[in-house]
């Protein structure tokens, strides 16, 4: 990940020890693979060293040998060997890759494209990207296969590659053709440029502004602060559930938990958010807890009446209730 800052590492293992662990891990990986594809442990160490650095040592510089060994033993041995063989120019491996994962690539391209022809173009470009049109200094093709670590499945990685390539192509098209029909990504960029979220509670009419702009600002600010104070896991769950519109079962799947666990966790987060919002209102306006609770209830009740027009896609409404009126 490019965005993580590199900190000074406190290594518990020496580089030599890490190399030994990686070499032993390469031996075990080849032993686990159904076919070694003429690969040797030495040819694997370079890739494994890079992968270990990326997924283990960067996030946990003091990782122990057990952590490193556990990670190496969890790699997809067969798929990593297949990719390494493809990188070496093994045509048999390429054939296997194409036959084994052609359907996955087509499916992912179809899902990321708006038309069948675009999906075909995307799939073709994926194979070209995987093979690499340019050559590196050592003569090998500079394809995207070099970024496969084996941490996830090869199919999942291919789907992710197709998705990212589709976004890149969309962005390129958006830059070339500046039309009014901006894509969602373009709107996303625009939203980043705005200073804060106050615009979200803009009223549809001047009357609404006069009636509830203060409450809207207060509640919005309180919610933003409460969300920011949540733990990362809780915040991600709230974003997946409310922002991405996933079901609890799907949100739980992203987090690796069962639907019931996600449901319990969401209930707990509701309580935490409520407490934080009430605390914010009490602090900002000097209200008592009952006043803050009553104000929150009135705002929510007012919004509840507006749920139906909101769901039917009518004009956006905003908070109109005022704590003063309660």
């Amino acid at each position: 990940m490019r965005g993580f800052s590199s900190e000074k590492r406190i290594l518990s293992l020496t580089p030599k020890q890490i190399d030994e662990l990686i070499l032993a891990g390469a031996d075990r990986l080849l032993a686990r693979a159904t076919s070694a594809r003429l690969l040797t442990p030495e040819t694997l160490t370079k890739r494994l060293r890079r992968v270990t650095e990326k997924y283990v040592l960067r996030h946990d510089p003091a990782a122990e040998a057990a952590t490193i060994n556990g990670f190496l033993d969890g790699l997809h041995a067969d798929e990593l060997c297949l990719v390494l063989a493809c990188e070496r120019g093994d045509q048999t491996a390429w054939s296997e890759l194409f036959e084994g994962y052609g359907a996955t690539v087509r499916s992912a391209a179809r899902a990321a494209s708006s038309s069948e022809s675009m999906a075909d173009d995307l799939a073709q470009s994926i194979w070209a990207e995987l093979h690499g049109l340019k050559a590196r200094e050592d003569g090998t093709a500079a394809g995207k296969l070099a970024y496969y670590s084996g941490a996830g499945s090869l199919g999942g990685w291919l789907r992710a590659v197709v998705g990212q390539l589709a976004i890149d192509q969309h962005r390129k098209q958006a830059k070339v053709v500046q039309t009014d029909e901006d894509s969602e990504l373009d709107r996303l960029v625009l939203s980043e440029a705005e200073p804060d979220g106050a615009h979200a509670f803009q009223s549809a009419s001047p009357e609404d502004l006069l009636a509830g702009n203060m409450a809207a600002a207060d509640v919005e600010q309180a919610l933003r602060q409460a969300m920011a104070e949540l733990a990362d896991e809780d915040r991600l769950l709230m974003k997946l559930y409310y922002f991405e519109g996933l079901r609890l079962r799907e949100a739980g799947a992203v987090l690796g938990v069962h639907e019931a666990t996600a449901s319990r966790r969401l209930t707990r987060i509701h309580g935490e958010v409520r407490q934080r919002v009430e605390a914010f209102l009490m602090k900002e306006h000097g209200w008592t807890k009952s006043e803050a609770s009553r104000s929150l209830a009135e705002v929510a009740e007012h919004l509840q009446t507006e749920v139906e027009p909101m769901l039917t896609g009518k004009a956006d409404t905003t908070f109109q209730s005022s704590p003063a009126s309660g």
């Binding site: 990940m1 490019r2 965005g3 993580f4 997924y55 283990v56 960067r58 996030h59 946990d60 990782a63 952590t67 990670f71 992912a108 995207k144 970024y147 996830g152 199919g155 999942g156 990685w157 789907r159 992710a160 590659v161 998705g163 990212q164 976004i167 996303l188 939203s191 980043e192 705005e194 979220g197 979200a200 509670f201 509640v219 919610l223 933003r224 915040r235 991600l236 709230m238 974003k239 409310y242 991405e244 079962r249 799907e250 739980g252 992203v254 690796g256 938990v257 069962h258 639907e259 209930t267 509701h270 958010v273 409520r274 919002v277 929510a300 009740e301 919004l303 749920v307 956006d316 908070f319």
Partner: protein
């Protein structure tokens, strides 16, 4: 979802709709996204990615799409079962006694208790009904047992009761009766006493009795004291009947009838019992009218029957019903046929004197008249030729005639070849 949760839910939905999309500078690459979506990252690495995904809408979209498409939903659906399997024994044990489980266990316990009480109650009622059914048999026996005094007078139930008991109970009175019977039998049928003795020995093996039958007999034996007392005049007769009952093990009418009663269903039980009682009464009346002999006399004529009943017993337990039916018929016949013979057993002496006055020799019958034996073929119109023993004329007589004269002794009148001889 509580009302408070609902309020926050509404607020959050509106906030999510209006909130600005955020993105951070760096994004996760395809390998990181797929590894996160498949949950194959070390915990520390995953925590860093979670923090990024919570703030980066673009990466979150991709990660969620990958997670859903990679089947993570299915994996997490199956995870609870694997989580349960992975728990230690102690955790499982603690989980069994956790409050959320115990509240269901309480209901289950209540259900079990109710089911147990219902089972015990139903079982008791069933066993009570069985006891009622079992107790009715002794009552039935008592009912049938009350009859003997009346039947004894008719000379029929004695035969029936003879067949019920198998164990001989020695008593002076019974031995006396047995002696008398043996004596009478010796006179008429000398071979019978050994047969009677053999009966006593052979009875247990020759009469295999089922457990039910034994139980029925035991019940009869136990209920015997509850019999209604016999009329004073019939005490001796009853004792005689008891002796004959001892002499005839296993062969009885009441035994099979008990067996039949046990086989009867509950609804037919009363009807059968009533029908049997009517049959008994009718049979007894019939026999009484046919035989017309006192019970005591009939009882004295019974010794031949034990051997017959034993012979039939030897046929096997499967024929008990038939045997007993035959025994009833035979006893009836005995009562009828043999009763004239036994009308004067007091007169067995009379029969003996009768036999003493008539003798047979050389195929001829002679009657005692005075001091001489007279051939029954002799007629007064015949002329007698007097011959003295030892005379020449005597020796000239046919050897057959001489043999008759020597057998009878004294004066003998013999009709020989149409002539009458007076041999002195």
């Amino acid at each position: 979802m509580t009302s408070n949760d609902k309020q926050i839910d509404v607020l959050m939905r509106r906030y999510a709709k209006a909130a600005p999309r955020t993105s951070v500078s760096g994004h996760l690459d395809a390998d990181e996204l797929s590894a996160f979506a498949e949950g194959s990252l070390p915990p520390a690495t995953r925590a860093g990615y979670v923090s990024h995904l919570a703030d980066c809408d673009e990466c979150r979209k991709q990660a969620s799409a990958l997670a859903i498409s990679s089947g993570a939903v299915v994996r997490t659906e199956e995870s609870p079962s694997t989580a349960v399997e992975g728990r230690s024994f102690w955790q499982v044990l603690v989980g069994l006694f956790a409050l959320p489980v115990l509240r269901y266990a309480a209901f289950a316990a209540v259900l079990l208790i109710v089911a147990g009480v219902a089972f015990v109650a139903l079982r008791r009622s069933r066993s009570d009904s069985q006891m009622i059914a079992l107790n009715e048999q002794p009552i039935q026996q008592r009912e049938s047992a009350v009859k003997p005094p009346a039947e004894i007078q008719d000379g029929y139930s004695g035969n029936k009761q003879l067949n019920t008991d198998s164990r001989p109970i020695p008593s002076p009175q019974s031995s006396a009766v047995n002696d008398q019977t043996a004596k009478a039998d010796t006179d008429t049928k000398p071979a019978e006493p050994p047969a009677t003795g053999g009966l006593m020995k052979e009875a247990p093996p020759a009469a295999p009795v089922t457990a039910e039958k034994k139980a029925a007999q035991g019940e009869v034996t136990q209920t015997a004291p509850s019999y209604a007392p016999a009329p004073p005049g019939d005490v001796a007769t009853q004792k005689k009947q008891e002796n004959y009952r001892e002499l005839q093990p296993g062969s009885g009418i009441s035994g099979p009838r008990q067996q039949q009663q046990k086989l009867d269903t509950a609804d037919k039980f009363g009807q059968e019992r009533e029908r049997d009682a009517n049959k008994d009464v009718a049979r007894t009346d019939d026999l009484a009218s046919k035989s017309g002999t006192p019970a005591s006399v009939a009882a004295n004529q019974l010794p031949p029957s034990p051997r017959k009943s034993i012979d039939e017993k030897a046929k096997g337990p499967m024929r008990n019903m038939e045997n007993n039916t035959n025994a009833i018929n035979r006893n009836e016949n005995l009562g009828r046929v043999e009763s004239p013979k036994t009308t004067s057993t007091g007169g067995s002496d009379r029969a003996a004197t009768e036999e003493a006055q008539t003798r047979s020799a050389g195929g001829r019958k002679f009657r005692r008249q005075g001091a001489a034996w007279v051939d029954q073929k002799f007629k007064s119109s015949m002329t007698l030729k007097s011959v003295s023993r030892g005379s020449d004329a005597f020796h000239e007589l046919d050897s057959g005639l001489r043999s008759i004269a020597q057998q009878l002794g004294g004066e003998v009148i013999v009709v020989w070849k149409g002539k009458a001889y007076l041999i002195k």
